[in-house]
Symmetry: C2
Subunit: 236 residues, 2 copies
Amino acid sequence: MDRTLADEAPGTTPEAQPEAGAGKQARRSATMRRRLCEAALDVLCEVGYESLTTPMIAARAGVSRGAQTHHFATKTDMLVGAFEHLLHGWDEARHAAFGGRNLGEVPFEDYLRFVWREIFSKPSYVAALELMLAARVDKELGDRLRRALDSPASQRNLRWRQLLRFPDVQKEEQFQYMTLCLLRGMAIHASFNRSDDVNEAVLDAWIELAEKIIAVERPESGVVAAAKERRRKPAG
Amino acid sequence: MDRTLADEAPGTTPEAQPEAGAGKQARRSATMRRRLCEAALDVLCEVGYESLTTPMIAARAGVSRGAQTHHFATKTDMLVGAFEHLLHGWDEARHAAFGGRNLGEVPFEDYLRFVWREIFSKPSYVAALELMLAARVDKELGDRLRRALDSPASQRNLRWRQLLRFPDVQKEEQFQYMTLCLLRGMAIHASFNRSDDVNEAVLDAWIELAEKIIAVERPESGVVAAAKERRRKPAG
DNA sequence: AACAAAAAACAGACTGGACTGTTTGTAAAA
DNA sequence: TTTTACAAACAGTCCAGTCTGTTTTTTGTT
């Protein structure tokens, strides 16, 4: 995951361009931005928000400082870019796992395990948390992160609407929020205590609890039993 | 909360010493350390971990850089000191609220609301989270923070043992851990989204859920009913 | 009890390094 | 030829850790 996405690596001979002509600049620019965002995320994961520097990002991306500052004028620009890139990656992971499937057909358990495995348990999520905590004292960063999260958050609401289908939307959002908080806390714990062993059990416990709640909030027949049956064959 | 704790403020005339003689140095030192830790926490809350500097701390404490480096040779020393100070503050808050009372007599609801109000919802908790996240990439800081948390964590286990009294200790620890994760996630949400409004409702919901779990795990008669009764008169 | 020597508390300057944002310069594309 | 992409150096700032110097306690000795 280093050079694979650099279809326009610096130093490439002019002849090697697969498709020249109009839009070349735009493509080059987009590629470079992506590379920088990815590098920024890598650096953020490796050294943390506190010691992250823009020169590090340029070096990690294998480009000059000039290129970096050209695409992201300030450090905040760079961080917001990295954050958006991360959000985009989550979308892709979700698409890879569930495609266009209606989440109403997806068992809660499967979806929860997916978000834990592919999002919250990753180091990049902890990196995102670092940004969010840093946003507490950096108003500009905070505003921009919140803006970046604006649309994804409302889309998430829609997905959970599909997933849970509580008649009481307020209870549904509360349940969603509780789950989010729990996963966040688990992510921190896994990061700080360097052991993920308890989390699987907690995930199980929450699923069990959640299915009871779902059964109460969404009085359709046999939800719990069906879910318990499905537990034997996790979705691929 | 600035000069009140400085019984030995720099510049005090030598005659004003309330108690001279043996142990004076030790007291002076302890006071200075406390002042520095408090200043470090203040700074951490105000500017965040990333922009916190040791000169800031010295300035905030109203002492020279020399004094600061004398008591805390490295930045990590200072941060660990601040962290321990925070933990100590939590102990004091708990003692102020419950004294030496056996937590078996305290309703879960009261205790949960207490830890949320006095610990997790405070800015200083978010500051602590910043340290814990920074510890991910700073091995020394991490090791020392974990060591500092060692004894407090096991004491917490004992308290929750008293509080919950589940026959199944494993389930109890899982429940404790789940609650901790939830509160952590809520703290982050309150910090990032700058709105605490949902959290009260979530706290209510968790309490309701928790009391059901408690009733199941600890089959004593009338626990839920008693707890529901007590909800009208919160403990002072 | 007095006093000298050692140790601790504190003050402030210095050093070496590194970072952010800017600016000037060059090559490629529009 | 005008704009965009990239390169590299510069300027100003500031920090962590160290070191030297001063004052205040403590300790050991008589």
